[in-house]
Amino acid sequence: MANDPWNQWKAFAEQTARAVPGALPIAELAGRFAAAARAYLEKSSQAPQSAADEAAAAFGNFLRDQAMACCRFPWSADSGGTAPAPWGPMADLPALGLSREHQQRWQRMADAALRVADAQRRLQTLWSDALRDAAAEFAARLSAGAGASDQADAHAPGSPRDAEARGSAALRRLYDSWIDCAERAYAAIAHSEPFSSALADFVNAGSSWRREFTASIEHGSKLIDLPTRGEINSLNARLMAVEEQLRTARRQPAAAAKRRPGPKAARASGVPAGRRARAKRAPRS
């Protein structure tokens, strides 16, 4: 147990799950990974090459499915996989009369929600492609013999304790290799123009939806005379303007004092500096 990180992980997650029931799937995930990796090592060392390739592909696919289920991004929400229900004829309903502004706002919100869902689906597809590529590369690595040392490690003779340690080391190398493949495949997709474009559409549509939603909230707040964020922003802007005026006003006397002659000059002329300035400004009669 002490040398087997997967069992440690599982036991740790089970302990955490006592406090946080939601942690239990993590424990199950650890168990599933360890079981799948050991099954792969078992099959790949005993079977002919074609069966070994099949085992590698099955293991890669297993990891892809796990990552798909576990990595949670804004674009991997459950709604991402299915097309959202269209708003139907209401989407184009001409806005007339007293409620036209509100209706248009809700129509814009619905349109933004559709665009969010569309971008989310595109991102989900790209994410799925990345995981598919990762699984393919991982399986290819295993088939090409990168996992040979893992297999040898896992099955080398020795004491049961040594075997357990070697087995754990083999599992860790498999895990690290999977992470390498996954990051490489993800980076290739994440750097692509379709990904940037879909991500921007996702964020921009979300911003549009939030803007309309905020407008609705502000409208409701005004009806019950609650202050709105727009009003607070307005007050904030006024306060900043007043602060700037104050800073400017403070700077001006200081600058004027610098321009004024010092006490020595004032004494030399026999006229106090302030009075001298006023005297200069006084119109000649």
Partner: protein
């Protein structure tokens, strides 16, 4: 370590607090605190003659990463070298700070910190060390106020935001930033999600597996949890400054093109004639090395040095190797000028 032991170690480590060196608040304005670090006993004599070094940290994370714990502290390393170290802590912006601009941060707050230090020491110029986004601020300040900066050190600082391997830049290029910010602040959690998305498998999964596999001691668990705290202790970003930064830097790459303006004044890196030391992490996934190395041909200084370390973005401050290499390199370079 058994799972129960690891659980207990991490639970205990959750109560660890980052920061190890003694410091005093020497000035504050709003949420900003300017700290001066007390000298270490063994380097006290050397410090008296040192020109103060002001560390300008980024807005996106907390500056205690510079002084995480005794054996992982860039600041402690600098103190051991006899340097007189100041640090700006920008604080946690709230809703009332949403209209703070880059000009307010660079010309206003950073400028005021510099003036306070110069006034206290009776000097005309100090040494500036900018880290990551703080490095960009330092470059801007030094270009706008060259007479106030004696030597400039930039650390993991992006300058060219359009290098081919800059993933963040690619992601934000088509985003409608004003609509995204919407005159509000940008939540720190949103930025964390963005940063984790750069390498999701390593940062959200493998990192924790490594923790289990390496059977950490209590001390290692403490370090892990301190770093974990730092990673996710992300202040919200003042909306106006964030919007300006993303548009000017990530979308329009204005700093590298000498087209950036702060409070109506052009930031022209060619006016930077003072000595510049540029520290780069060659394994940095946040600020690609090429983004930092672009600084060399852009500055007007004839005394420009780039030092590369085979470290990542965070490793530049807290790795064991960084402790031995980075502070002495900074101190040596400063001592020669």
């Amino acid at each position: 370590m058994t799972p129960a032991g690891l659980y207990a170690a991490l639970a205990s480590a959750s109560r660890c607090t980052p920061g190890c060196s003694d410091k005093d608040v020497v000035w504050q304005s709003g949420k900003l605190r300017l700290y001066r670090y007390r000298p270490l006993e063994r380097s006290r004599a050397r410090r008296s003659a040192a020109v103060p070094l002001l560390i300008v940290y980024a807005l996106v994370n907390r500056p205690y990463m510079m002084d995480l714990q005794e054996d992982r502290s860039l600041i402690r390393g600098l103190l051991e070298q006899g340097l007189d170290v100041y640090l700006i802590d920008w604080g946690y912006p709230d809703g009332a700070d949403r209209f703070i601009t880059l000009g307010d941060y660079i010309d206003g707050l950073l400028g005021a910190c510099v003036e306070r230090i110069l006034s206290a020491h009776g000097l005309r110029a100090l040494n500036l060390l900018g880290v990551c986004q703080g490095g960009v601020f330092s470059l801007c300040y030094a270009a706008l106020h060259p007479e106030r900066v004696r030597n400039l050190v930039t650390m993991v600082t992006p300058v060219d935001f359009h290098t081919p391997d800059d993933l963040l830049s690619k992601w934000v290029r088509h985003i409608d930033v004003p609509a995204w910010v919407a005159k509000g602040n940008v939540p720190g959690d949103a930025l964390n999600q963005l940063f984790l998305s750069l390498m999701p498998f390593r940062l959200s999964h493998q990192k924790y597996m490594d923790l289990f596999m390496d059977a950490p001691t209590q001390a290692q668990a403490d370090t892990f949890m301190r770093v974990e705290q730092w990673i996710f202790d992300s202040p919200d970003q003042a909306g106006a400054a964030f919007e300006e930064f993303v548009i000017s830097m990530y979308q329009e790459n204005r700093l590298a093109r000498n087209q950036l303006t702060i409070n109506g004044r052009q930031v022209d890196l060619r006016t930077l004639k003072r000595p510049v030391l540029n520290l780069i992490g060659t394994k940095d996934h946040l600020v690609p090395p090429a983004a930092s190395l672009a600084l060399g041909p852009l500055v007007g200084s004839k005394d420009y040095t780039a030092l590369e370390f085979a470290l990542g973005h965070i490793g530049m401050y807290i790795s064991a190797r960084a402790q031995h290499e980075v502070p002495p390199a900074i101190a040596r370079w400063l001592a020669q000028r």
